[in-house]
Each structure stands twice: as structure tokens, then as C-alpha cells.
Symmetry: C2
Subunit: 190 residues, 2 copies
Amino acid sequence: MGKKSLKPTSAVLLTPVVLVTCQEEGKNPNIITLAWVGVANSDPPMISMAIRPERHSHGIIQKTGEFVANLPTVAILKEMDFCGVASGSKVDKFSETNLTPLPAEKLKAPLIKECPVNLECRVKQVIPLGSHDLFLGEVVAAHMDEEIRSEKGRMDMRKARLFAFCPGAMEYWSLGEEIGKYGFTKGKLD
Amino acid sequence: MGKKSLKPTSAVLLTPVVLVTCQEEGKNPNIITLAWVGVANSDPPMISMAIRPERHSHGIIQKTGEFVANLPTVAILKEMDFCGVASGSKVDKFSETNLTPLPAEKLKAPLIKECPVNLECRVKQVIPLGSHDLFLGEVVAAHMDEEIRSEKGRMDMRKARLFAFCPGAMEYWSLGEEIGKYGFTKGKLD
């Protein structure tokens, strides 16, 4: 068997899953589940996320210029899926899911307590690409649960219980085991 | 224990790992391992990838306006790590790793045979962000190994053996098990 040509698609990468929170002044905060998210820059720290213009959160984030990227664990898988399917124009997702909003340090949108990592972001650019607009956000404050910090100050993946989305299969997958550290070959193959 | 503020960082998302191939006319093809990669758009299909301007591949991709995103499996973990650490200005990565170049359908840069998914991309925008430039590439051709296609024409994640990078820990992790299908709640929590 060999390689088979597919209809061109971008939906085959492994992706993170992010619960993005946003809040319009005087209204309840909203949550949207996104997978079209990635690291865009290291210094300053920036992430990219693609949102369809017709999504309720799109208008809020465009108007307020801010959002929080919260990383969910397997413990809130159901709540995560719900926030990707239901619309904030119809339901109050915090009250429906019982997820807990916590005040952010620099933004008006809340953190989600049940997510062990929270990145407060200010929108720097919005790039229309077709089906989606790509938001580039600078991380202006970051938080991590003490429980998942390793002794070296890194993230302990054994405790973090993050998971990946596999759009090629439309499935969520847990992580298995560590298979190597970055740079383990030290640039040598023998 | 509670939440602890970190120095703002983007290096805590789960990310895919991609072996990006590129080729300047009349020269050997090169491979660079990237993790700052994400889905940027669905229609047309686009991906984003951040590359430091000082990397050898950056100039090649900027000049040729094309690259192939190849998804590695755990079987070539060592080769993947090597291609992230070594520089194509000093070594011929295809010959060092014994990875196999295959002709692409629409581009001059080759596919990597050992990667079960290959996305041929044309650069649409390059956005300088600081430490990295963000390349937005449109997927103009896509290929998948027949062995990893499921009966429904999707990707069989049990066979694909992809893995994730966890920059918060600087570790590569295999996938564990399927924990849910996209939309399994159907927008209802009870």
C-alpha cells in the first residue's frame, strides 16, 4: 500500500484544546472551546487561534480585544465538549457547566478555576482567512496550578492530565507516556 | 494549593510536531522540525507555523514560497529530534537520517515517505512577530498512507502513531487512548 491523495485539508494535525473565556462589559462571561490554536511566537509570547466570524465569542473578543486561554483536563471533558457545541447566545455556559470563574490579573474576562493553566491574552492582530479569522494574542499574564508544577518549575505532564484533539479522526485522545525529552539526540544520530 | 502566576509564556500548549521540508532550486532538500504549528483556517485549508528568522529553512521557505508539512510517527522519534537540533546549513538531513524524499504533487520540495501524512503548502502571508515569523500556508495537496485510513475515510489514530510535544515540560508524549468523539454531548450536559 502507498500514499493516497486527499482533498486538501488542514484538519489532520494534532491540536491542543483550549477553553477560551471572554466577557463583554455588563454581561455574563462566555466560554468557547477551540482547537485551531497554536503557539505563534516566543518573545513576546503569543498564541494564534482561529474563530469563525459567526460564533458568538468572535464578536465579543473583537470588541473587547482580550481573551483568556484556559487548558482543560480530562476531568472536564464533558463540559469542554458542551462549550464547543452550545452557543453563548442561547445559554450561560458558566452556570450550565458549573465551571468556576476566577478574576483575571490584567483582563476583565475570567479564568476558569478547573483549568490548571490560564493565559491572559490581548489581541494584537486579527487576520481574515476565509472560513475563520485568525486572532493573534499576546500573553500578558499566565497562571498555573501549584499541583502541576514540577520541582524544576516546569509542568508535570503526569499530573496535568491535558489531552489532544485529533481532527483527522474527530476524536479526543489522552496522553500516553513520555517518549523523549526535547533535544535528546544532541544533534547526533549515532 | 492554588494558582501561581508565571512569567507570561506561550510555551505551555500541547502542540503537534511537524517535519517541514523545503528546497531551494539546484540544492538538496532540507528538513526542519517545528512545534509552533497550528490549524489556521478550514476553507481554504491553511496552517500556521512560526520559524525564527535565523533558521536555515526560514530563508529557503521565504524565497521559494512553499513547504511540505510532514507528520512524524514514534518510529522516527530520533530522526525528528535530530532535525530540530542540527542545522541544514551544516548537514544534509535527508542523507544523515536516511529518511526518504518522495516527489510532491504540486511543489518542488519533497514529501517524507516515513511520515504518514503530508501537506503540500504555498505561503500566503509571513507575519513578523518578534522572535519568530509566522508563516501562513495554504494546503494545496494532501496525502495519507493507505495503512492509516479508517473505513470511514478518516485517520485511524490507533495506527497513525502520532505524538505530541509538551513545551511546558520540554517532553514528547505518545497518545494514550480515545476518550471521546467530537460533539459527544450533542450540546447537552444531562
